[in-house]
Each structure stands twice: as structure tokens, then as C-alpha cells.
């Protein structure tokens, strides 16, 4: 599926900002299942300096500095992306028993496996703990195939947790999410990652977008979409399999990948440090517009849930992605 994606962010400050340095991870990365056209980036006021680079995790990062006094900063990124239906794993893909996968991950000297082991370790937002291991162990029963257990964990998070954009912020501890059984897409992805790492498995955080479909009979609303987040689990020797606990599915053509890392801290879409500014307000809008007619309707469940989420997230000024 081909998409035109527009991600617009605006900060308005109560007093002038004399200088700001920023990093944006808003340019989608190229993958075997995702081809990216040119991105158009518009930053107002015009940055004195900008530079693109590839970070440690292979993501595209845009650094820019605004040196003129300003009270409003707007960052708008428009990209054309084609997502193919060839992600390496499907719901019925075979996988070894999870204990065997874990052992292989930790003992094999293959370079990919060695690199994947960094995603078992604690990261800024996700630390292993017995509570997460206990929650996961229901799904990860002895000898169960890795991906079957993962799909079950994905389903349980989806079913046992309430999507609630008013409950959490970026700073809400994961233990609280587990205790209250509430959160948004970012929390669910972090939670699943914590569960897997607590079992000694490797998991990474993926940030991106999800195409949302309007309720039947209604026109598509421009700008009603939002950033999205899911996770990927490492299958030794086979690669990374993606799961979206918010929608109880495996990401497909509707999931557009921006960046991945150990957790949200590695892939925050926009961050900055400024001098001056006072208090500020934030506006975010995301638009994922399909560029071709749909041959077959996509998975109805996923799309419907996503539409609700997007509407709620917009209502909550979309300070955090779902």
C-alpha cells in the first residue's frame, strides 16, 4: 500500500526562545518491506543549521538548530511511503520452543545474535522485574513455540488492558501500567518488551504510524491519525517478528515504520533543548492518506480499534502516541 504521510508538530511559547537545538526521528527508515520516497521537511522559523545522519540503531535523525528569536516552532514532515506485504513473519510462522530460542540467543556466536542480545538488557524506560516475568509466564508455558507464546501475550495485553489516553504520560512507570491495567500504545509496547526481557528474550520498540479507517459511511478525517508504537521480538537465526498489542495483530501493510530502538527514549519523534520560552503548548497532527484504491478491505478489527484510538488521542491533544 502507498501512503502520503504528514506529521505536523507546533510548539507555542509564552515568551521568546533565543536558541534551540533539536533532534527529529520523523523520517521513515527503509526496510525490506518498506520503501520510502523523498521527505519534505518544513521547519518554521528556518533553522540556521540542519544535518541528517543515521543513528546507532540505523534510524534516520534530523538535527536542526533555530537561532532566531521565536515564539512558535513548527515542524512539518511529508513523506511518501510504500509498505509491502512481505514482512518476514506471519501468524502461523513456525518457531522453536521459547526456552530453546533463549538458549540459542545467549550461546550462539553469530554476529546478529550477539547484537540482538543488547535488546535483552534494561533500557531507560524498560527494566526487567519478577512482576513482568510472572505476567508473561502464563503465555510462555514450558516448551511452547516462541511465536505462539508471543501471540498469546499480545492477545492478553490487548484483552486484559484498557486503552486509556488520560491515565498515563511518558513518565508513568511500567509497574503502574501493569497494576492498573491501563495505558496507551507506548505503554503496551513497553510492557510486552519488559515481559520478554524478564524471560531473557530480546525485544525492541518500534515507532511509526497506523492507517486508520473511518467508521463505515463516514468520510476520512484529515489529521485525525496519530503516532503509533509496537514491538518486535527476536527469533534466533530468523530475524525480528513484529507484534502490535494495542490492536492484537501482527503489523502489516497498514503499519508504517519510522524508527526502532531499545525503547521510546531511543526513538522520540522530536526532542529539543531551548533557551528561554517560558511555558509552552503543543499541537500535533498526523495524517496517513492512502494513495491507491484498496483491493480487499483490511483486517476490520485492527482498523476499527485504531480509529477509536486516533479519535481519543486527538482529543487528548495527542501528547503521547497511542
Amino acid at each position: 500500500m502507498k501512503y502520503a504521510i504528514t506529521h505536523h508538530t507546533a510548539y507555542t511559547y509564552s515568551s521568546g526562545v533565543a536558541l534551540c537545538h533539536n533532534e527529529a526521528r520523523l523520517l521513515p527508515r527503509e526496510t525490506p518491506w518498506q520503501q520510502c520516497g523523498l521527505s519534505q521537511v518544513i521547519i518554521q522559523p528556518r533553522p540556521a543549521l540542519s544535518a541528517e545522519r543515521i543513528d546507532f540503531f540505523g534510524n534516520r535523525v534530523l538535527y536542526f538548530a533555530v537561532q532566531d528569536i521565536h515564539q512558535r516552532l513548527e515542524v512539518s514532515v511529508a513523506t511518501r511511503v510504500q509498505v509491502l506485504d512481505n514482512r518476514p513473519f506471519a501468524p502461523d510462522s513456525p518457531s522453536p520452543p521459547w526456552e530453546q530460542a533463549r538458549q540459542q540467543l545467549h550461546e550462539d556466536s553469530d554476529a546478529d545474535m550477539i547484537e540482538a542480545r543488547q535488546f535483552v538488557l534494561n533500557s531507560p524506560f524498560v527494566a526487567s522485574a519478577a512482576a513482568f516475568r510472572d505476567y508473561a509466564s502464563t503465555s510462555f508455558s514450558p516448551e511452547r513455540p516462541l511465536l505462539e507464546a508471543m501471540a498469546d501475550l499480545n492477545r492478553r495485553i490487548n484483552q486484559e488492558f484498557t486503552y486509556d489516553p488520560h491515565f498515563t504520560t511518558v513518565a508513568t512507570p511500567l509497574h503502574e501500567v501493569l497494576k492498573e491495567r491501563r495505558g496507551v500504545c507506548q505503554d503496551f509496547a513497553h510492557l510486552a518488551i519488559a515481559c520478554l526481557r524478564s524471560l531473557g528474550l530480546a525485544a525492541r520498540y518500534v515507532s511509526g504510524y497506523l492507517e486508520t479507517l473511518p467508521p463505515p459511511g463516514q468520510p476520512r478525517l484529515v489529521g485525525a491519525d496519530a503516532s503509533h508504537a509496537w514491538l518486535a521480538i527476536y527469533v534466533p537465526g530468523a530475524g525480528w517478528a513484529e507484534y502490535d498489542p494495542t490492536n492484537n495483530c501482527m503489523p502489516g501493510e497498514q503499519h508504517i515504520t519510522l524508527a526502532w530502538g531499545r525503547d521510546y527514549a531511543d526513538v522520540a519523534p522530536l526532542k529539543g533543548v531551548m533557551t528561554g520560552g517560558g511555558s509552552h503548548t503543543l499541537e500535533v497532527s498526523v495524517d496517513v492518506e492512502p494513495q491507491e484504491a484498496r483491493a480487499t478491505p483490511p483486517d476490520a478489527t485492527a482498523a476499527a480499534t485504531a480509529a477509536t484510538i486516533a479519535a481519543e488521542a486527538t482529543a487528548a491533544t495527542a501528547a503521547t502516541p497511542p
Partner: protein
């Protein structure tokens, strides 16, 4: 001491030496001075002979002299846990630790190789990561360590140096082998203390140092400077090199200021720097000045709140991007703290083979990494004899022998939960070296801190370094926090070496500069406050002195009690009810006054004011002369360590003493600091504070006084030290109009408001302004306003003050109030014009 462990006493010519009479070292150990045969090692003999000639008593005298010199030079080590925040004095043992030139050459070769290895390892870890991908290093050891900074990945162009400065902790075991206890790659401290130790000891023990055949340190520091300058990508002929310090609260701030001075670098804090147009700039009074090279003494994770720790206030936003752009060079490169990971010791021999194709020459202390299952089982099985360390920064360790059952179980649980975060070591007893103790030499375990600096393609190793008394468990920082003792480490040379000081040499062409416009704005701000604090301290001390004096007179004669009330009011002391018996009242008041003089907790008291003065003074250490600094150290003793059991009389004497020292401090600054921008801020601070206090004093004496009249007028004259001036000029009884002329209108009397305003106007007019506007700045307008109000005052209307004339009194009130208005705005105006670009950046909430 039993026969088994007790020592063999020397049977040579030194057997009778009283210095060595008590020197008993463990028989199983290695002593630096005595060989196993029980004889003095040959390279120690000339030293012992010289020490013997001096004798124990004289050595103790010299030791006291060493500590005195350290005290007056202000050589300190700050501790975080000291409630008063006053720094600890650096302790130095006068007996050097000797090493032969041959042994050092081989040691230096090992250190040089380790430095190259670490540089190659950093280049690999932040580049291709072959050491991880090919299995020479377990990924957990690197990726779980907070010193590995993914943001620094490929931040330096290929071929760039990652490690410029290298520090190493070394110790010798009973087998005589030197081993590395820790590699310091971040911003190794100690080179400055090493140099200061050498300089102070050479002053206190000239006969020992003058012609000693020891390798000198100056050429090493010269290399440090050349290497730093050589890193500049811009201005290669005259690069701007700065030393980035976390500030005066850093435990080793003394060293930062010392090295900046010795190497002629600008001493800067994060907020002095800004990244614009991809380059790093120093904010100065004259505008932004480009920075080419940063000698970094801030932990790398704190250096850039954009890409590293977002909560850091010590860093510079955008710094890492400026590094990537190649516009600024940092020593050591950001990301180097990953090396300070004790687990790496296990893998260095193999890494040395793989990365350098060489055998590792200098071994590390034997280390087991618990991330490896077989090593973990060894550690758990031998926990009782091992020392377990966390690989994380902070140096936490557990001594197996000291663990009780419960804490042992807890430790095992922690290791098993995250084994990759732990290592274990079995530190052997360290070699012993002689230390002076009560006029005798006694053996104490020692560790060494060595240093290397990049030079050309390799590294130059400092011939010597810092020795310290240590059990081998604590890091240098931790040991110093506990008040450790350091020693000078000598490397012997075949012939006497000339003593060279870097300070006396010039290096190539230098651009003469004089105007001081390159003064960092923050430094100007601090000099301004240094002036304000010194005057505030002086004013309060003078008020207290008068109050103590009146209290003492009151003891004999009741007449002055009333004026004491007004003084108490000026000091913000609640006047006790008259109902109290005079005796009780005396003691209450005395206690209140003493609190302000000695209580470190009393708000507005002398200790707090002095702490403010000292804190500000330390941030501008490099702008004060050494003599001024010695006076501050002496004042610190007087104010923060007053004699106990102080009465009112002793308190008054102490205050007089303080006033003189403080006057000497300000006077020396006037005589020593060049009268350019920095000094002007100091002077403006002083006179602004003084004029505000003088106006307050006038209000107190002539307007708000509860008990107006002669005694209070007298107080005004004594506080301002103008009694004799008054007498000489008027030869009459006190008259308020005359006092007002002397202390308000006189533009030639430094204690008079007129002079103070005149001086403020002169210096404010000479301040350099960032913009070249033809109009008067806000601060110029304010001071002009104040001076004009004074000059246009209706002096006639004030002439009848003594007659209780309401007209005169109202006129004075009006005048004093009118003067205060512009003066109270002046401080803010100065801040806005000259210090405001020192604004602190903050993080934008991420989304």
C-alpha cells in the same frame, strides 16, 4: 607483632638510624624501601642519608611547613558530605616514593601500550564494533554499562583520537609485580595535585629536591599543552582551549583552577558555552568567542542535554553535534567512560592481541567476570576471600570477609539476578612504603596513580605521579573523600635534573590582550557578587563590632543601652523585653550577637556571608592574586573555626581582626588585579553594596531611630571609621548637619555616598557593552539619576536637623528614599546588560 610477620631490621650502616628504628613491615610482603634480604634497596640510600641528616624532629617541622604551604595555597579536596561545604585540606606526606629509572622505563612502556589499546578499543566500540561482533567482548559488558553512549556512535571521523589523557591506578603485590587496579579514561584527575605536591615539597625540603637526580614533571605538562593545542581544527596558530569544569562544587575544583592557570586555558562551566552555527562559543562580555578545543572535566553523560542526559545542567546543548561537524575537539572524547568498567580487565589480553597484534605488557589485577557462568561459579564458591565489585560507575564493592550471613545471601541474589553487572577480584596485600609518623618512618600500603598524554601517534607517560596510602579497595576519589594522604612519586634519573617551571617560559608568539572583553559573562557576574559579599560581610562585621562594644560598655554604665537597641534593629535581632533582669538581658543579647558571629546556621550571620564570599571567590579563583587567596584562607580560619568559649570582649577583638583582613583582601585586589573589566565588576559590586548600606545607616540614625541623639551619631562615625576625620575637620561636638556633609555629600570621602556614587558612575561608564549604541545604557542612566538627585539636593533644608526640625527630617527622608529607588534597580540593570546571556537552557518536553 609476632616473629613470623615482624621484620628484619637492616644490618647495614643504617641500622642505627633513629628514623628507621620502628620500621617493621610484614615479612611476607613487598617493601619499596627494604629488599627481601633485609637491606635497604640501593636507590633509597641517598634519600635516607639526607633524611637522617635532617633528623626526625626537623622532618616533622618540615611536614608542618608542607601542610601550612598547602593551606595558604588553598590546596583542597571538596567533600559532598560536609554540611558546611568547606573543603578538606589536601594531605601530603613529605617522604617521596622512589622508583628506579629502569623499572619506570618498563612500566612506562606498559602504560603507553595500554593507552594505545584503550584508544583502539574506543574507536572500535564507537565504530565497527568488531570486538563485540567477533566475540572478543561479551555484548552485556558493554551495552549494560551506562558509560556506553549510543549517541556517540561514529561521532569522530575515522582515524581521530578517542583517548588523549589516560590515568591508571597501579599497585605492587608481594611478588613485586606492578598491576593495574583501574583504567581512567574519562577525565583523569590528579596531574595538578601531583604538580602541586612536587612544588610544595620542593619549597619545604629544598635540600632534598634542589639537585635530586629525579625526573622532572614540567615537560609532561608541556606535552599536555602542545597536544591540546594540536587538536584544534580551526585557528591552528592561536587556538582557544578551554577547561570545562562542573564548577566549584566538584571535589577536585582546586585542580581544575590550578591546571587552567598552569596551562593557560580559560576555565569555563557549561553555562559559559553555547553552540551556534555548529560551533562552540564562549559567552564573554565582548560577545561570543569561538572555542577550538575543550579539556573536559565533566563526566561525558552530562555534557549534552540534547543527546545525553537530558537533566544535566552542566553541559552544553548541541555539543555532540558540534563534535560530529568537526568544529570542536574534546579531550577525552565523549563516550570514553565505557572504559571505566572493571569487567574489561578480563578481556584486555585478548583485545590487545586482536586490536594491536601485541601481547599485553602490563597485567591487570586478576578479575573474574560473573557474566561468564564458569567464572561466576568460581566467584560464588570463593566469595569469602574475594572482593565483589559492581561494574557500574560509583565503585561500589563488597568485601567477602566482612559479609554477615544475611548480606552475603543478598549479594548472591543480586549477582544471580544480573550476573553481567558484577566482577570479583582478590586484591593481594599491597607493597609498603615509608611514611613519616611522629618523627619516625613507618611502612604503609601504597598505590600509584600514573598519567599518560597523547603525543604524535603514541603516548608520553608522566615520569612519576601521585602515590597514596591505600588499602587498594577505594578509588582515588573515594579515598580522598575519606581524607587520604598522598605522596610524591619520584622516578630517579642518572644525573641531577634542572627544575623547570612552565610558568616561566613563553611558547611561541602570543597575542597581547588587555581590555578584558574576553571575560566570561559568568565570571563578571561572580566578580560583581564577590564585591557585594565582601562589603556585606564588612558592613555586618562593623555593626557587630559596635554592638559588642556597646554591650561591654553597658556592663559598666547604663547610658548607652538605648543606642544598642537601634544597633540590634539594624542587625535584625529582636530586642528582648525590658522586664528581664539586666544580667539576664546581657546574656541574652550576648548570645544573640555571638550567634551572628559564629553560628554557621544563623541567616545573615558572618559564617553564612563568608561562605557566600568564599563560594563566589572560588569560581573566580584565577582572577585573584595568590596573596588575596591566602587572606581568604586566613579569614576562613577566623570565621569558620573561631576559638571556643568566646565572650563579648574576645568577639569584639575577633571582629576587629576580621575587618582588617577583609580590608586587606579588598585592598590587595585593588593593588593586584589589573583595573580592567573584571576588576570593575568587583569594584561596582563593592560600592553598590556600600552605598546601599550607608543609606540604611543614615535612615537608622536620623529617621527611624528609637533613641535618636548623640550616642547613635557616634556609632555612625565609628562604623564608617570617620570619627577622626570628623574631629579633624570640625573640632567640635557632633552635629548632624556636619555628619551629613561628611558622609552624604562629600565626593572625596570613600565612606560618603557622594564619593560612592561618583565612583560607581565612573566605573559603570567604563564597562564594555555588547552593543555599540550611542545612547546611555540603563545602568548609566540609573547611576546618573542617583548622582544628580544627590547633587541637586536642597542642602539648606537639611541644615536644621539637630533642632528636631520636622522640615529637615522630612527632607532627609525624601532624599534618602529618592536615592534608593534608582540604586535598587541598578543591580538588575547590570545583570540584564552584562550577565543575562548566561541564561540556562532547558529541555523541551518530548512528545
Amino acid at each position: 607483632m609476632t616473629d613470623a610477620t615482624a621484620a628484619r631490621l637492616d644490618s647495614t650502616a643504617f641500622a642505627g638510624s633513629p628514623l628507621l628504628a620502628d620500621y617493621r613491615y610484614p615479612a611476607a610482603g613487598y617493601d619499596e624501601m627494604y629488599a627481601a634480604s633485609g637491606e635497604l634497596r640501593p636507590h633509597w640510600r641517598p634519600l635516607i642519608q639526607t633524611l637522617d641528616e635532617l633528623g626526625g624532629e626537623e622532618l616533622e617541622n618540615r611536614h608542618a611547613e608542607v601542610q601550612r604551604l598547602l593551606q595558604i595555597d588553598g590546596v583542597t579536596y571538596n567533600t559532598y558530605d560536609d554540611p558546611r561545604g568547606s573543603p578538606h585540606l589536601w594531605m601530603v606526606d613529605p617522604i617521596p616514593l622512589l622508583m628506579t629509572g629502569e623499572e619506570w622505563s618498563s612500566l612506562a612502556g606498559g602504560l603507553e601500550q595500554r593507552a594505545r589499546l584503550i584508544n583502539a578499543l574506543l574507536a572500535d566500540l564507537y565504530g565497527p564494533r568488531l570486538s563485540i561482533r567477533r566475540g572478543w567482548l561479551p555484548p552485556e559488558l558493554i551495552y549494560a554499562h551506562p558509560g556506553f553512549l549510543p549517541a556517540c556512535h561514529r561521532s569522530l571521523p575515522d582515524g581521530c583520537r578517542w583517548l588523549t589523557f589516560y590515568g591508571v591506578d597501579l599497585a605492587r603485590g608481594p611478588d613485586g609485580v606492578m598491576r593495574v587496579y583501574g583504567d581512567r579514561s574519562q577525565s583523569p584527575s590528579g596531574a595538578g595535585y601531583t604538580l602541586e605536591n612536587r612544588i610544595i615539597l620542593a619549597r619545604a625540603l629544598p635540600m632534598l629536591y634542589r639537585d635530586a637526580p629525579l625526573r622532572r614533571l614540567a615537560t609532561f605538562l608541556e606535552t599536555e599543552r602542545t597536544t591540546l593545542a594540536g587538536m584544534a581544527r580551526h585557528n591552528p596558530d592561536n587556538p582557544h582551549v578551554v577547561l570545562l569544569t562542573p564548577g566549584p562544587n566538584s571535589p577536585v575544583y582546586f585542580e581544575h583552577a590550578y591546571l587552567a592557570n598552569y596551562l593557560s586555558l580559560s576555565l569555563v562551566e557549561g553555562e559559559d558555552l553555547v553552540v551556534r552555527d555548529g560551533r562552540v562559543w564562549l559567552k564573554t562580555l565582548g560577545g561570543l568567542r569561538p572555542v577550538d578545543v575543550i579539556l573536559r572535566r565533566v563526566i561525558d553523560t552530562f555534557c549534552d542535554p540534547l543527546e545525553l542526559r537530558g537533566d544535566s545542567l552542566l553541559g552544553v546543548p548541541g555539543l555532540l553535534q558540534a563534535v560530529r561537524g568537526g568544529h570542536v575537539a574534546i579531550a577525552n572524547a565523549l563516550g570514553s567512560s565505557i572504559i571505566e568498567n572493571p569487567g574489561l580487565a578480563v578481556f584486555l589480553p585478548q583485545l590487545c592481541q586482536q586490536l594491536l597484534g601485541e601481547d599485553l605488557r602490563l597485567p591487570s589485577l586478576h578479575t573474574w567476570w560473573c557474566g561468564n557462568p564458569s567464572e561466576r561459579s568460581h566467584v560464588l564458591a570463593h566469595l569469602d576471600t574475594l572482593v565483589v565489585r559492581s561494574i557500574l560507575p560509583g565503585g561500589t564493592y563488597w568485601e567477602g570477609t566482612l559479609l554477615d550471613k544475611a548480606s552475603r545471601a543478598r549479594l548472591i541474589e543480586r549477582i544471580q539476578a544480573a550476573p553481567h553487572l558484577f566482577v570479583a577480584q582478590e586484591p593481594p596485600p599491597l607493597s609498603t612504603a615509608p611514611v613519616l609518623d611522629n618523627g619516625r618512618l613507618v611502612p604503609r600500603p601504597v598505590m600509584l596513580r600514573g598519567f599518560a598524554v597523547a603525543e604524535g601517534e603514541g603516548y608520553r607517560v608522566m615520569p612519576g605521579g601521585l602515590a597514596r596510602i591505600s588499602s587498594g579497595l577505594d578509588t582515588l576519589q573515594a579515598a580522598l573523600q575519606k581524607g587520604g594522604i598522598s605522596k610524591d612519586w619520584w622516578v630517579l634519573a642518572p644525573t641531577p635534573q634542572r627544575h623547570v617551571s612552565l610558568l616561566r617560559q613563553s611558547y611561541g608568539p602570543i597575542m597581547a590582550t588587555r581590555d578584558g572583553s574576553d571575560l566570561p559573562s559568568r565570571v563578571a557576574d561572580n566578580l560583581f557578587w564577590l564585591g557585594r559579599y565582601s562589603e556585606r560581610l564588612d558592613g555586618t562585621a562593623r555593626l557587630l563590632r559596635e554592638a559588642c562594644g556597646r554591650l561591654l560598655e553597658w556592663e559598666q554604665d547604663n547610658t548607652d543601652e538605648r543606642c544598642l537597641d537601634d544597633l540590634l534593629e539594624a542587625l535584625d535581632i529582636a530586642v528582648p523585653p525590658v522586664a528581664e533582669s539586666p544580667r539576664a538581658r546581657f546574656f541574652t543579647l550576648r548570645q544573640e550577637l555571638l550567634n551572628l558571629i559564629i553560628d554557621t546556621e544563623a541567616p545573615g550571620g558572618l559564617p553564612q556571608l563568608f561562605s557566600g564570599l568564599l563560594r563566589t571567590g572560588r569560581t573566580v579563583r584565577s582572577h585573584l592574586g595568590d596573596d588575596s587567596w591566602r587572606l581568604l584562607n586566613r579569614l576562613q580560619q577566623r570565621i569558620l573555626e573561631p576559638p571556643s568559649g568566646l565572650g563579648a570582649r574576645q568577639a569584639r577583638d575577633l571582629l576587629e581582626d576580621q575587618s582588617i583582613l577583609l580590608a586587606a583582601f579588598c585592598g590587595l585586589n585593588n593593588e593586584t588585579m589589573p583595573h580592567h573589566q573584571g576588576w570593575m565588576f568587583f569594584d561596582i559590586g563593592r560600592y553598590l553594596e556600600r552605598v546601599l548600606r550607608t543609606l540604611d545607616l543614615f535612615k537608622l540614625a536620623f529617621i527611624t531611630a528609637r533613641n535618636p541623639g548623640l550616642p547613635l551619631w557616634e556609632v555612625v562615625l565609628t562604623i564608617t571609621d570617620n570619627m577622626t576625620a570628623y574631629r579633624r575637620r570640625y573640632r567640635s561636638a557632633l552635629h548632624p548637619t556636619a555628619i551629613i556633609d561628611l558622609l552624604l555629600f562629600d565626593e572625596g570621602n570613600p565612606r560618603a555616598v557622594g564619593y560612592q556614587l561618583y565612583r560607581l558612575q565612573r566605573n559603570i561608564g567604563r564597562l564594555q557593552r555588547p552593543s555599540s549604541s550611542p545612547y546611555r545604557s540603563a545602568e548609566e542612566r540609573l547611576i546618573l539619576e542617583a548622582l544628580t538627585i544627590l547633587r541637586l539636593a536642597d542642602i539648606e533644608a537639611l541644615a536644621t536637623l539637630s533642632n528636631d526640625s520636622t522640615r529637615s527630617s522630612a527632607e532627609l527622608t525624601r532624599l534618602l528614599d529618592a536615592l534608593q529607588v534608582p540604586l535598587l534597580k541598578l543591580s538588575d540593570a547590570l545583570t540584564h546588560s552584562h550577565f543575562s546571556h548566561a541564561e540556562v537552557p532547558r529541555q523541551l518536553i518530548t512528545m
